[in-house]
């Protein structure tokens, strides 16, 4: 049974469909990457999974259970973590408080989880008393991911985690993502940096105009000349 499965998803804002039938599925130990041109519906798909917009047709399942149009806080309880692209931290709260807020619904194992998060993101340990808003872009992204990981999700949705970061930080973030995945968290992420992201992906989904143009393993997509020509910039 796949960890996360979406079949023929249609949806959008206010009656206007942006998604016109998207399929995707990842297994428990996989990294799935959604790539595609601007306006293809990549972030929209992530929001549709996390219940932030209306799905009009199709079905989404988490470990076989239907979760279509469930409210975000229910999904958090079911083991799904979501990191929005923007405004994904509490800027005036300290790094540690940001992480604690991630575990708001499950306050029991906080200290154990904090340790684990600092292991994933060592730079955060030194800054744990500092307001998160004062950190650099890459470190903020770590705080955001750490916050979502605090409830030990089985699947983590990342919306362009490397947007606006320098190449150095970008690689660092990708390394962390691999590490988190190795610890047993399924990952579905949207990325602009398609080549680098597909390189660490087990599965890749190339969206265009709201539906799947290509679906394959990351490696296969990287090597597909047609994908390379149209979507990876040659």
């Amino acid at each position: 049974m796949p960890l996360l499965e979406a079949r023929d998803v249609h949806g959008g804002y206010g009656g206007m469909n942006i998604l016109n039938g998207v399929d995707m599925s990842i297994e428990a130990d996989e990294i799935g990457v959604i790539v595609g041109p601007n306006g293809a519906g990549k972030s929209t798909m992530l929001k549709a999974i996390f219940g932030l917009l209306q799905v009009n047709q199709g079905e989404i399942r988490l470990r076989g259970e239907p979760i279509t149009n469930l409210a975000p806080n229910k999904l958090v309880h079911m083991g799904m973590g979501f990191v929005p692209q923007e405004n994904n931290i509490f800027p005036s709260l300290s790094v540690e408080e940001n992480l604690e807020m991630g575990a708001y619904i499950r306050p029991s194992g906080v200290s154990r989880m904090l340790e684990q998060i600092y292991e994933f993101f060592p730079p955060l340990l030194d800054k744990r008393r500092q307001p998160a808003g004062e950190l650099s872009g890459g470190q903020r992204q770590m705080v955001a991911m750490g916050r979502a990981l605090m409830v030990e999700p089985s699947v983590l949705l990342l919306d362009e985690p490397t947007a606006g970061l320098s190449p150095l930080f970008m690689n660092e973030i990708f390394e962390r993502v691999k590490k988190i995945n190795a610890a047993g968290v399924g990952i579905l992420m949207v990325e602009q940096h398609a080549k680098q992201a597909l390189a660490i992906a087990h599965k890749g989904f190339v969206l265009a105009a709201g539906y799947n143009r290509f679906t394959d393993t990351g490696e296969a997509l990287l090597n597909d000349p047609e994908v390379a020509k149209s979507f990876l910039g040659g």
Binding site: P72, N87, I89, P91
Partner: protein
């Protein structure tokens, strides 16, 4: 040297008293602003309501104070805080929440809060009448006269009992609020919601619960401030009238959405008011002989007459809006 004592009594003590009251009011305004994103015009009337509840309780149990050795009003304060907090939560449920869930612009909720202001005022005047009433029902207000150990000083520094209690309670409230916001899970969630409501919701924080907690704190603080002010002066149903502008000015000066800023803002506005109505000629008169002859000190050298006191918070408000709309502590919302 008596002039100095005069200065201490009329500026240092009076300013601290006014500042403490404004600070407590401004914390309430700023908390509502940071959680619900609207200017709560009914806040000053909540302060009056709290004081009125204390007055009613004191009238019902006038002897309660002498048992513990405190003024009856102070003994009744905790109960009144609970009552007012419950009323505040109820007002939110009945009047603000429906507007919020309709997704109206914040300014519509501001108008809604004006409606609540009028309702509270109407009820207070209906039940309390319009004449001032003494909060000390059964006992006498203690006045402490502190003689200063200097030869030239013949007049004492005067502090009243409610003022002393006010200072103690303000410190307690600020420390308590600080610990609550920084050490408890709910307090941190409140700050989180003020920072980023969407992310707070996505983290599973129950925003309705946070809103209720906010109203409980706001109602409690309002009761405390209203009661102590009424104890220091008298209880009047139109108390709110003189409070609304200063506490908003204080909240904006401190940076809206910033509780510590609100405290600072409260004292800034409070001291500005007392300094502005203070007659500086009193301090300058001892030096009259040393001044040149052509410079004759007028009798009244106050910046504004007491009747124009309301100009001071307004002037501060306008100045801060022109030069630094985010306030001295960089508020979140402008």
């Amino acid at each position: 040297m008596n002039e100095l004592v005069f200065f201490i009594n009329n500026v240092v003590v009076a300013g601290s008293v006014t500042g403490s009251i404004y600070a407590m009011g401004a914390i309430g305004v700023t908390l509502v602003f940071s959680i619900m994103r609207f200017a709560h015009f009914a806040h000053a009337d909540m302060m009056t309501l709290g004081a009125f509840v204390v007055l009613l309780l004191s009238l019902a149990f006038p002897g309660a104070g002498s048992v513990v050795g405190l003024p009856t009003a102070i003994v009744m304060l905790p109960i009144a805080m609970v009552v007012t907090a419950a009323v505040a939560v109820g007002i939110d449920k009945a009047f603000y929440k429906p507007l919020r869930s309709h997704g109206v612009k914040p300014i519509v909720i501001v108008i809604g809060s004006l409606g609540v202001t009028l309702m509270l005022q109407g009820l207070l005047r209906l039940f309390a009448g319009t004449s001032p009433q003494n909060m000390y029902v059964a006992e006498r207000k203690e006045i402490y006269r502190l003689e200063l150990p200097f030869e030239a000083v013949t007049r004492p520094v005067i502090v009243t009992e409610p003022q002393v209690i006010l200072f103690i309670l303000v410190v307690a409230a600020v420390v308590g609020l600080h610990l609550f916001l920084n050490k408890t899970r709910t307090g941190k969630a409140m700050r989180a919601m003020s920072d980023n409501p969407d992310l707070a919701r996505a983290s599973g924080i129950n925003t309705n619960h946070i809103v209720s907690v906010t109203w409980i704190i706001v109602g409690g603080l309002a009761t405390m401030a209203g009661t102590l002010l009424s104890m220091d002066v008298t209880f009047k149903p139109d108390l709110s009238f003189f409070l609304l502008l200063p506490i908003f000015a204080a909240a904006i000066v401190g940076g809206v959405g910033h509780p510590y800023g609100a405290i600072a803002g409260g004292f800034v506005v409070g001291f500005a008011e007392t300094l502005a109505v203070f007659n500086w000629a009193v301090l300058l008169r001892p030096f009259q002989e040393r001044l040149p002859d052509w410079l004759e000190l007028p009798n009244n050298l106050a910046f504004v007459g007491t009747e124009y006191k309301i100009v001071v918070p307004f002037f501060i408000l306008v100045a801060i809006l022109v030069w630094r709309p985010t306030g001295i502590f960089k508020g979140k919302v402008i």
